[in-house]
């Protein structure tokens, strides 16, 4: 694997400058904060309530911005130029993910503070959040690579938002419900289950299972995004 910190940093800085000057896309970072303020004021203290703005951040900010960043590169023919430069696939994908990773981390911290969520086991929860962030970044890359423009990417991301942000709400249906049996394996649901296990101060094994499931999702999503990216280096 070829990694150059200088190249990753250069792509990150370029994305940061572009993102900070693109108000149409950068505006979305305010939505989870607004939601967190509303949920914080509601007085509810269930894990589901805490994690709604968190899962929203993942789909509406992490996946959406990542998809837009990639789609815009395709729309303007700059992605091919990047691919033709000496930057490796790892350099490009890491460079293009750092910005969204940092934004997500800041938003998650702010959202958790605003909803008043203080987990019992911070390192384990952070591990779960990092694995989730990686998964949603990879989902954003996949959506961005599948589409030709920012407009198309904004539409393509909708199923991701619906499935991965709102489906975990089905957990409230109860363990016997058929929808629950499917939905419980989604990364968003696993994150909620992890938070519940942390809350119950469960055993290490119980904490590892949701992290392992989320990791599998992330690895599969990364694999698809890399394969798709390699395909895009050539015309079909």
């Amino acid at each position: 694997m070829n990694i150059s910190i200088r190249r990753i940093q250069a792509i990150f800085m370029k994305d940061y400058k572009e993102f900070s000057r693109n108000y149409a896309v950068s505006f979305v970072v305010l939505i989870p904060i607004f939601l967190a303020i509303v949920y914080g004021k509601s007085g509810s203290n269930s894990i589901q309530t805490y994690f709604l703005p968190i899962n929203m951040t993942f789909s509406m900010v992490t996946a959406y911005i990542q998809a837009c960043l990639i789609a815009e590169e395709k729309e303007r023919n700059t992605l091919r130029s990047l691919m033709m430069s000496p930057a490796s696939i790892t350099d490009i994908l890491l460079g293009k993910s750092v910005l969204v990773f940092v934004i997500t981390a800041v938003l998650l911290a702010v959202s958790m503070f605003l909803v008043g969520y203080t987990p019992e086991n911070i390192p384990v929860l952070v591990m779960g959040l990092v694995v989730s962030t990686v998964f949603y970044i990879a989902m954003g890359i996949i959506c961005g690579l599948f589409t030709k423009s920012v407009m198309e990417a904004s539409l393509a991301i909708l199923p991701v938002m619906i499935i991965f942000s709102f489906a975990p709400l089905a957990i409230v249906l109860g363990e016997t419900h058929i929808v629950y049996k499917i939905v419980q394996w989604l990364p968003g649901s696993q994150l909620i289950l992890l938070a519940e296990e942390i809350n119950k101060q469960a055993s290490t094994m119980s904490l590892l299972t949701p992290i392992a499931v989320m990791s599998i999702w992330s690895v599969v999503a990364i694999f698809i995004s890399v394969v798709l990216f390699k395909k895009r280096t050539k015309d079909e």
């Binding site: 023919n77 700059t78 000496p86």
Partner: protein, 281 residues
Amino acid sequence: MSKIIDVQNLQMKFGKEEALKDVSFTVEKGEIFGFLGPSGSGKTTTIKILTAQLTHSSGKASVFQQNAADMNQMENKQKIGILTDNSGLYGRLSIEENLLLYCNLYELPKSAMDEALQFVNLQNERKKKVNNLSKGMTQRVILARTIMHKPKLLFLDEPTSALDPVNTKHIYKGLRKLNELGTTIFLTTHDMSEAETLCDRVAFLHKGEIREIGDPAMLKKKYSDHSFTVELTDGEKHVLLNGQEDAQRLFNWMSTQQVERINTNEPSLGDIFVQLTGSDL
């Protein structure tokens, strides 16, 4: 001289449509090679195959004695520069910010960017946002980015198509300088005067087939009817051919001081293209 590009019996099909038919040519080290043809003749397809952006259907294409498909390997990307219709820039960034990105991607010193800006005559415009540039200026920024790492082989697809005559001249001067420093240039154009000015050898591509290949001066000689036009002081023009009869006529005009001007009737590259293909560029 060694072959930098070697293409043999190259064929490219898009579905049933044949974009390239049995194309063969070589480009020697240090050459400026012109690939001439109208839109849709297969020029860009050839560049894309040679730069590993497209996989050819059959035949052989090698660059630096390696399969053209390997041109996407990192060590090869350092050796080539590409300017095609799908080379884009970041509109919200300035010229300098765009070039600085590539300066870092190629791990070059900042002075490489200054040199490239000077090459395209944009050193005083570096702070301008790309979104506010004219088409010609945008083309010059892309060209600066393409040559910044001083590639050994430069692929230029219609490099001066959006430029005004002053900047075109400036770019020609720069390209010749780059070539003198050892850069081999593969240039596609439909501008015959550009080809005549820059190229050591040209190939005429028409509907995916190479119709002729050679040195422009040699081609002009080959396709010339060896006639010349004599313009007399009274404004009359006469086309003469080599031979006793026309030599006597010319001698008579010259001895009576009637000759105003003599021009050879050498065809232009455009004329040769029309002659070979029956269609204009």
